[in-house]
């Protein structure tokens, strides 16, 4: 869990914050003061993963190595709970304060992460405003829908995401029914292509392949997947908005809502 002390936070707002994780990078860039954040991770400048490439290029990049980070003399380091344990432990041993953020496993947790980041950076009210904004816009999407077309998420190596994941909930918020639930997936897991085909989804949403091919991603182009997607390949792709629990998920939901309308069109 997050370690913080609400009262002291405002007075002792950290002045030199280094972020080592893509999701903390983006939340920090959204909530920090000018000059408060001194470095973000290299991947924040990668357009396939980051929704804030332009902003990220304004910050010096770090590769998440303990030595590199230490030499920046931060007074606070933001990391993900899955960031390289050895690096994080090393920084803590060197006496640096590290706050670890869990990934957002659902839309409800996006608000939580925003609040936690605000507290960590010493801007709780700013975070509250952003969270309230997020809730309002989300509510717009969460209105009841009568017709839920069936969709499947399918990534490299046949991975899918169920209803207890951020991606699954984006899909649900956009008005789809996720076939992963029928197939018995709550979280993420490998779904056999046959099972996916037999579930007969109305569309399949895959991730964008990385440069230079890999065999793992080949399966996303399998004739069966192409047949299931029908004529809508380009619209049905995840991108950087899906990766982290940030307000950008709303854009992902908007994209999926547009896809839903296309699917429902006769």
């Amino acid at each position: 869990m997050v370690a913080l002390c609400p009262v002291a936070a405002i007075a002792d707002a950290p002045q030199r914050v280094v972020s080592m994780n893509l999701c903390t990078d983006q939340l920090a860039m959204l909530l920090a003061d000018e000059g408060q954040l001194i470095s973000v991770s290299r991947i924040a400048a990668d357009p396939r993963s980051s929704a804030m490439v332009a902003q990220a290029s304004l910050y010096p990049a770090n590769s998440g190595l303990a030595e590199e980070v230490f030499l920046m003399q931060p007074d606070l380091v933001l990391a993900g709970s899955f960031t390289a344990r050895a690096s994080v432990n090393m920084l803590e041993r060197l006496g640096i304060r590290v706050i670890k953020f869990k990934p957002a496993y659902g839309l409800g947790e996006v608000r939580d992460r925003i609040i936690e980041m605000g507290a960590a950076l010493g801007h709780p009210e700013r975070a509250e405003v952003m969270a309230a904004n997020f809730d309002a816009r989300l509510a717009h999407y969460l209105r009841e829908v009568t017709l839920r077309p069936r969709a499947a998420l399918y990534y490299a190596n046949g991975y899918t995401s169920g209803d207890k994941t951020l991606a699954g909930q984006i899909l649900a918020a956009a008005g789809f029914e996720n076939i992963a639930a029928e197939a018995g997936f709550d979280g993420g897991g490998v779904i056999p292509l046959e099972v996916l085909a037999m579930a007969g989804p109305d569309t399949v949403i895959t991730s964008r392949p990385y440069p230079a091919t890999s065999r793992s991603e080949e399966v996303m182009g399998h004739p069966v997947i192409e047949a299931l997607r029908g004529a809508r390949p380009e619209a049905a792709l995840t991108d950087s908005d899906w990766v982290c629990g940030t307000p950008f998920v709303l854009q992902a939901i908007a994209d999926m809502t547009a896809l839903r309308e296309e699917v429902l069109r006769p």
């Binding site: 490299a156 190596n157 046949g158 490998v190 056999p192 292509l193 046959e194 099972v195 085909a197 037999m198 579930a199 007969g200 990385y210 440069p211 230079a212 091919t213 890999s214 065999r215 793992s216 991603e217 080949e218 399966v219 399998h222 004739p223 069966v224 047949a227 299931l228």
Partner: protein
């Protein structure tokens, strides 16, 4: 001999059908076969024709190829330890394939992938013949195989590691262990021409391999063109192993186990062993692929693991026998 042929062909046919009706989707046997043949709307047809059919066809083609190539190499080298996987030909083919994929050559040109794997396999076969050609002992052959396999594996790992794609580094497992999961009819079409061509080339070796039973001098004096045989063997093996590895990764031991098991049933004659091993290899790989889907269906058990579990103990036994009899 016709009895053996009928038995093996029947076995292959039965395993082929079995392979078509086994899978994680719960589809009844009758329904699945009907959808395969008659077609019709719905996901069952899609599953049968685009997922299960290519898988079964590839298992048959690749198993047959590996059995045939193993028998041909053993016949030519007059050594029962020759197997395309063991002596490094599959590994070199995998290197060729990986290079083609990582440089984009495979994406640019439909047959780029199997041709690149062919080139890799060619290099592998040539190296084996240079290092441990006929007249070389078993020891030399195995050492050559170790050297070539190690070199090919190291280079493959290097290429994958240097790839900008984050998934590439983990794919070494597929290339080294082989898998037929999620293959499509596209893979069948790109592999088919080279497999057919290579198989036809290897089939022409039957008479020459029989004559080689008496040694090279006697065979040549009877009119067998040894140089031509060597070239045919090199290109035939490279074509067949290259195309197979390009679509399924390196699968070993089929070319070792199948000729060994079937040799007593063909009277040890190398010419007959060619077609028998082709059928036997197809049967073995079909069976292994069925096993992979029935045992531990949730984990992605690699095909090469099953063939290695069958083949490695046999290999040990053959080595032990070689030591005792001083082959």
């Amino acid at each position: 001999m016709t009895r053996l042929f009928i038995l093996l062909a029947g076995l292959v046919a039965a395993l082929f059908v079995a392979s078509l009706v086994v899978g994680p989707a719960q589809i009844g046997v009758a329904q699945s076969l009907r959808a395969l043949v008659a077609g019709g709307e719905g996901p069952v047809t899609l599953v049968m024709r685009e997922i299960r059919l290519p898988r079964a066809v590839l298992a048959l083609l690749i198993g047959g190829s590996l059995g045939l190539a193993g028998a041909a190499m053993q016949g030519y080298l007059r050594n029962p330890l020759a197997d395309p996987g063991l002596i490094g030909v599959s590994g070199s083919a995998a290197l060729g394939a990986v290079l083609a994929i990582q440089t984009g050559f495979a994406a640019g040109f439909a047959f780029g992938l199997p041709l690149a794997a062919l080139a890799g396999a060619l290099a592998g076969v040539l190296l084996v013949l240079v290092l441990a050609g006929p007249g070389g002992s078993s020891l030399t052959l195995i050492l050559a195989g170790i050297a070539i396999s190690a070199l090919a594996a190291a280079c493959t790992a290097l290429v994958l590691n240097l790839s900008p794609n984050p998934f590439a580094a983990n794919e070494i497992v597929f290339w080294m262990m082989g898998s037929l999961a999620d293959r499509s009819m596209v893979h069948v079409w790109i592999a088919l021409p080279l497999i057919v061509l290579g198989a036809l080339m290897l089939a022409t070796l039957a008479r020459g391999l029989d004559a080689l039973t008496l040694g090279e001098d006697a065979a040549e004096a009877m009119g067998i063109g040894l140089r031509r045989m060597r070239l045919t063997l090199i290109f035939g093996t490279a074509a067949v192993v290259g195309a197979s590895t390009a679509v399924a990764g390196a699968i070993g031991f089929v070319g070792l186990v199948v000729p060994h098991l079937l040799r007593p049933f063909v009277g040890a004659q190398p010419g007959r062993l060619l077609w028998a091993s082709a059928l036997g290899g197809a049967a073995m790989l079909l069976a292994a692929d069925i096993a992979v889907r029935m045992i531990l269906p949730d984990r992605d058990l690699k095909l090469g693991v099953v063939t290695a579990l069958i083949g490695a103990p046999l290999f040990l036994h053959l080595i032990y026998r070689t030591r005792r009899e001083g082959l």
